[in-house]
């Protein structure tokens, strides 16, 4: 009886994973300030749970590189540096390119049709200016694509990279999405999948990732980059705040996560 698709997973109901989801969503939505220190008790109170679930969720996110643990044993939101974005760009191009190459060899007609449907939903959301569904569908498209490769370990690695890339992806809006290259690239990629042309498909996804993250990297200096390179520099008295171009306050960065 049991179909290859397990119908429905039991879904983890533990408090720990709920807290994990909350923190992950808050992070990728950019609701934390880069460099912000996160204390267990603050998060526990904000989420209305005890320390334990927060401890475990936070530790997992640290292990996945979403947050970082200082030698002081305190956890903070990673700083946003141009170098890190470029690093993630190159890793993602390599790894997701690998996945797409394998997907090109295996893609079935149905899977390709599914991708095309999602691609249409993306342009629909974009025409409405609905950036939140836009992002959601972009993610859905990419992971549907990588799932075709049928490589669970590879997929895990990619998920980890997306988690680390997540906080930066807000910077794509609204400037980058106006570039009309996205839909064309997806169309070319889907055609390459149909033709089982692994090289072309791979080139397309690499260009996709490369363009987006290069754009984000160029913005990184002017945006949230508080980033002093050394902890020593951080001890310097606050500059008169005139040196930095007055951080874009509207850009949804706030000092204390008020409601997560």
């Amino acid at each position: 009886m049991r179909s290859s698709v397990p119908a429905e997973f039991p879904a983890d109901t533990s408090l720990r994973s709920q807290v994990y989801d909350s923190l992950r969503d808050a992070l990728t939505a950019g609701r934390f300030v880069p460099g912000q220190k996160l204390t267990l008790r603050f998060l526990a109170k904000a989420l209305g749970v005890s320390l334990m679930p927060v401890r475990e969720a936070l530790r997992r996110l640290v292990a996945e590189g979403a947050f970082e643990m200082r030698p002081n044993r305190s956890v903070r939101v990673p700083l946003m540096t141009q170098a890190k974005i470029l690093e993630l760009r190159d890793i993602r191009m390599a790894v997701e390119g690998l996945a797409v190459g394998k997907a090109a060899a295996l893609a079935t007609r149905e899977q390709i049709a599914g991708l095309r449907r999602i691609a249409l939903e993306i342009v629909a959301a974009r025409e409405l200016g609905d950036s939140v569904t836009d992002r959601k569908k972009i993610r859905e498209y990419h992971f549907a694509l990588y799932a075709i490769a049928d490589q669970p370990t590879l997929l895990r690695v990619i998920e980890g990279l997306w988690l680390q890339t997540g906080p930066y992806m807000n910077l794509l809006y609204p400037g980058f999405v106006s570039s009309p290259r996205g839909p064309e690239g997806r169309a070319r990629l889907i055609r390459a999948l149909q033709a089982h042309d692994a090289a072309t498909a791979r080139r397309e996804i690499e260009r996709d990732i490369g363009d987006a993250l290069t754009y984000v990297a160029d913005l990184a200096d002017s945006a949230g980059n508080i980033a002093p390179a050394s902890p020593i520099a951080a001890k310097r008295k606050r500059q008169p705040s005139k040196a930095l171009p007055a951080r874009p306050r509207g850009a949804a960065l706030f000092q204390r996560a008020e409601r997560l």
Copy 2:
């Protein structure tokens, strides 16, 4: 003043990280049986600590893919399947190839000299038949190489992949190391670094990883592969154990981690 090497790190003294190290070492040394279920209380008693440090260490290892958590919320040692090894092979070729390509552009004379020294120590250990220092030096060589690329995020990803590959690497001994291609490959790679020839360096590391893990994958069927694809198959009565070539017992797999 401050040199690029931070002299000495505070070093984490928490029980949690000690437990983490113990479990990681036991895993990569192959002291766990693939599929073995790990309970918190058993590990806590074996290591002489309470549940808490084991909980956190185990959770971290699960997040890193070293162990896997079943929907039942129990943790077990991942099964060893040929497909997974081939997956890890391809990912590692892509990612470590990327790192070496970057390293080739940056390698200094001193760094290259350091690599050559380690390469010599490898052949020395290998001549003595000392497989434990062999493995240690191989790891040291690879990570010294990747460190040249100076990409911390990339290095983290690679460490995660090595952690997942670790348990399989015992299978390289003693058969694979007798192949004399290793030293030659390292010599060619080092020459390519000197010439800043990124393409050649990359090709060499890919061949290194590819050869080793292809060899391991070929062994996977006959070795510890208990691996039924579906949990249903696992319920089948034990085969008369004649089908499998009597798992190499000397190879340090035992049912219960007696002392870790």
